[in-house]
């Protein structure tokens, strides 16, 4: 086990361990219910385990338990046993566990410690007391293994999302652990990066020199890689542990109920028809709604760039009409967020104009198109709203109910109506109930689960819905049920005439939108129907963008390739 003292070690030298759990149960300190309960399974060495379950089902807790973070770092109550190889996790000190196990999290920015790539890879090795010579030999090896050869002196902040995740995997591999645990490693990545990450994992799996535990809910990509599957329900109890080969279309109901995105090939005919109907509904164009926003030739340079040559947006024009639902897509860094901010007036373009249809001011006859940056806060809120990727940053009140009525209150005050209706409080409760948050009216927004927070951030804009709703990565971190819930709620708002723009790099949302605007390096490269976009994505390589939609919640009609190029879905 102690390969630490030796200088030179091959990259995959530790023997992959088996994993054995018996009645494993963990309750975090201060919580009344266990995060995971009754886990009992055995994973043979060198196999790949796929852990599935809805959001909040304790999948991350499984990852932490394997790494020994639970119970050695995080406080709580442990029951049952968990053995990794011949080590009992609960009895073995964290540092001995650390030598055998590596863990990768979903947010690359929150797991990279150092500012330079080579320091970053060496960090884990330093912690395990490797000699300097050994580290200097190992760092380039680990980087080459993940395709980052030559990146040693780069700053970690200059890397793209995909590169950062690859760096995290390099960190993982550098210490030569036998067990690799990856907790939703592709959640934050755009399709090409996601594709590359799955390829990386597939490569590691093929070599069979590690035991791998992968937490994912994109079955189409992950299931072909897996040997065994562990399914948890929303309370963290074990629902099933089976060989991946044994998981087939008959398990669709069970899987979907528990958050997984099942391969399209498995969906029964009735289900497919229902999806088709919804897609058609989404595509139904409302009569040319009123023009709500018009942006013309907008150019914005990156703030940190003094020379003004790197443009976040380079001559972007877009118009938005009432009732439209637009998907704003593009790889990370294409300019989606910049465009959203320009539309709300939070960012002033260096060139070009943005005009938003605003309510008439005193003395004016009708609505006029104005520069959103010049509007007062009360005027803006009535016309355009933005739901942020991290809902917590947008919360303004102490309780969920106050959060919902805050917007209405502010708008009333902005228009000179000081008395806040008690009627509005009832309105707030009604909205909360509609969004499934009725029982949480008096809770602090910060104590809600991720899915609840997402719904609350939508609910906060539902009492006085703005004419245009912008959403930045609205389904990030949500499982299938969460995503469907959000889309249903958005449908309701849209039925009342709201225009919606979903900025996302998740192609699964495309079929639910009637129009796709694609950005690439600050330019609009596509503006049309989702079907056309998916048939020929305007990106190089196009594959990942097309394949990504195979995981979609509904088929988008003709012209789309079926199964992705890799291994076929089982049965």
């Amino acid at each position: 086990m102690t390969t630490v003292q030796e200088g030179r070690i091959a990259l995959e030298s530790a023997t992959p361990p088996s994993i054995e759990a018996d009645g494993l149960c963990w309750t975090y300190a201060g919580r009344s219910r266990p995060a995971i309960e009754g886990l009992t399974f055995r994973l043979e060495p060198g196999r790949v385990l796929l852990v599935l379950g809805p959001s909040g089902s304790g999948k991350s807790t499984v990852a932490r338990a394997l790494a020994g973070l639970v119970p050695h770092v995080l406080p709580g109550t442990w029951k049952g046993t968990l053995r990794v190889g011949n080590l009992d996790v609960a009895q073995t000190p964290a540092r001995l566990l650390g030598e055998r196990i590596g863990l990768v999290f979903q947010d690359p920015d929150s797991q990279l410690v150092m500012s330079r790539v080579d320091d970053e890879v060496a960090f884990g090795l330093e912690n395990r007391a490797w000699t300097r010579e050994a580290m200097q030999a190992r760092v380039p090896e680990a980087l080459a293994r993940v395709g980052l050869a030559g990146f040693e002196r780069r700053g970690t902040m200059t890397l793209s999302g995909g590169e950062k995740q690859r760096l995290a995997i390099a960190d993982l591999l550098a210490a030569g652990p036998g067990l690799l645990v990856l907790d939703e490693p592709t959640a934050n990545l755009d399709p090409p990066a996601m594709h590359a990450t799955f390829e990386q994992i597939a490569g590691l799996a093929r070599v069979r020199r590690h035991t791998i535990v992968l937490i994912e809910h994109r079955l189409e990509a992950a299931l072909p890689l897996a040997d065994d599957v562990l399914l948890l329900d929303e309370s963290g109890r074990q629902l099933a542990f089976a060989a991946a080969d044994a998981v087939g279309p008959e398990a669709v109901g069970l899987l979907e109920r528990n958050g997984a995105w099942v391969p399209r090939a498995w969906q029964g005919v009735a289900v497919a028809r229902a999806h088709e109907a919804r897609a058609a509904e989404a595509r139904r164009s409302t009569e040319a709604g009123a023009l709500l926003l018009e942006a013309a030739q907008v150019r914005i340079a990156y703030p940190a760039d003094e020379s003004g040559t790197h443009l976040a947006l380079d001559g972007v024009s877009i118009s938005v009409r009432a009732g439209e639902r637009i998907a704003l897509v593009g790889p990370n860094g294409a300019g989606k967020s910049s465009l959203l901010f320009v539309m709300t007036g939070l960012l002033r373009p260096d060139a070009g104009t943005v005009r938003l249809r605003a309510l008439p001011r005193d003395g004016e006859a009708g609505e006029t198109m104005r520069d959103p940056a010049r509007l007062r806060a009360g005027e803006i809120a009535a016309r355009i709203g933005l739901v942020f990727q991290d809902p917590e940053l947008g919360f303004v009140a102490r309780t969920a109910r106050a959060e919902v009525s805050a917007g209405a209150r502010a708008m009333d005050r902005g228009r000179g109506r000081d008395a806040h209706d008690a009627h509005d409080d009832h309105g707030a409760d009604g909205v909360l109930a509609h969004f499934g948050l009725g029982h949480l009216a008096l809770e602090s927004p910060f104590r809600l689960s991720q899915g609840e927070q997402r719904r609350l951030s939508l609910a906060a804009l539902a009492l006085r819905p703005p004419a245009i709703l912008l959403l930045d990565e609205p389904t990030f971190g949500l499982d299938r049920r969460g995503t469907e819930a959000v889309l249903r709620l958005l449908d309701d708002l849209r039925a009342a005439g709201q225009a919606q723009i979903l900025a996302t790099h998740d192609p699964r949302l495309l079929p639910a939108c009637e129009r796709v605007v694609a950005l690439d390096a600050g330019l609009v490269v596509f503006d049309g129907a989702p079907g056309a976009f998916l048939a020929t994505p305007p990106y190089r390589p196009a594959g990942p963008w097309r394949d990504g939609v195979a995981l979609a919640i509904e088929p988008s009609g003709g012209g789309v390739d079926d199964t992705p190029g890799r291994a076929a879905a089982p049965r």
Partner: protein, 240 residues
């Protein structure tokens, strides 16, 4: 490490005396050092000092006005400002104070400026024997600091878009308070994730860490320290 010592030495030297010429010499030395060591281009130095500009000017002005020597009737007044007299020594003393602040600022730039923060942390741990936890914890925190700035902007943006526009000082204070609270939550969340990641990689597990980058105190370091002391001494002692 030499940088740290040099910075401290000059800082002390500038405080020790009231003679304004001393800080001027030290300023020259510091500027030279900054340009040579930190690679900071000459024209960017005033930009870096700009945030302190107001403080420096007001300190200097007030020191001149309020200096004791203004009250001394034996000294001739160089200028008058209404009822106040300003004497020669007062100006000298005021300038000394102002210039001293400039020296302090430059010394700080020298120590903490564009130099690689990782190197700084390594130096603290390897040469000054700071505890690992503190030095590398702070380094990690520095690395995520830019995200905090982004969060603050996002929080402000979100509030404006919800229609919240504070009017009046009390409302403004409440607004800032609200923003700070949200910021605190965001900061803690990020810190937890990063700390967990560091733990997962074996940080602070009781093993004595080794170091990827070696920082040895070489003769060059000692030479630099010697020069720094010499410069400080010269600045203090040389006659006008």
């Amino acid at each position: 490490m030499a940088r740290l010592v040099a910075g401290i030495v000059w800082l002390v030297a500038s405080i020790v005396t009231l003679d304004p010429l001393v800080p001027v010499r030290l300023i020259l030395a510091a500027v030279v050092a900054l340009v040579l060591w930190s690679g900071l281009p000459l024209r960017r130095i005033p930009g870096r000092l700009a945030p302190l500009g107001f403080a420096i000017l007001s300190l200097t002005a007030f020191s001149i006005l309020l200096s004791g020597s203004n009250a001394d009737p034996s000294l001739a007044a160089v200028a008058t400002l209404g009822p106040a007299r300003i004497t020669g020594p007062a100006i000298a003393a005021g300038l000394a104070v102002g210039l001293r602040v400039v020296v302090i600022a430059l010394s700080t730039l020298l120590v903490f400026g564009p130099s690689d923060p990782t190197r700084m942390a390594d130096s603290l741990v390897q040469q000054w024997h700071f505890p690992d936890r503190f030095a590398y914890g702070t380094l990690a925190a520095l690395r995520v600091a830019p995200f905090m700035a982004g969060d603050w902007a996002t929080i402000a943006a979100a509030r404006r878009l919800r229609g919240l526009q504070p009017r009046g000082p009390a409302a403004h204070l409440r607004e800032i308070g609200g923003r700070l609270l949200t910021m605190l939550v965001a900061a803690i969340r990020r810190a937890e994730r990063l700390a967990l990641a560091m733990d997962a990689r074996g940080f602070d597990s009781g093993i004595r860490r080794t170091h990827f980058r070696e920082l040895r105190t070489t003769w060059r370091d000692w030479l630099t320290i010697g020069v720094a002391f010499a410069v400080a001494a010269a600045a203090l002692v040389l006659p006008r």
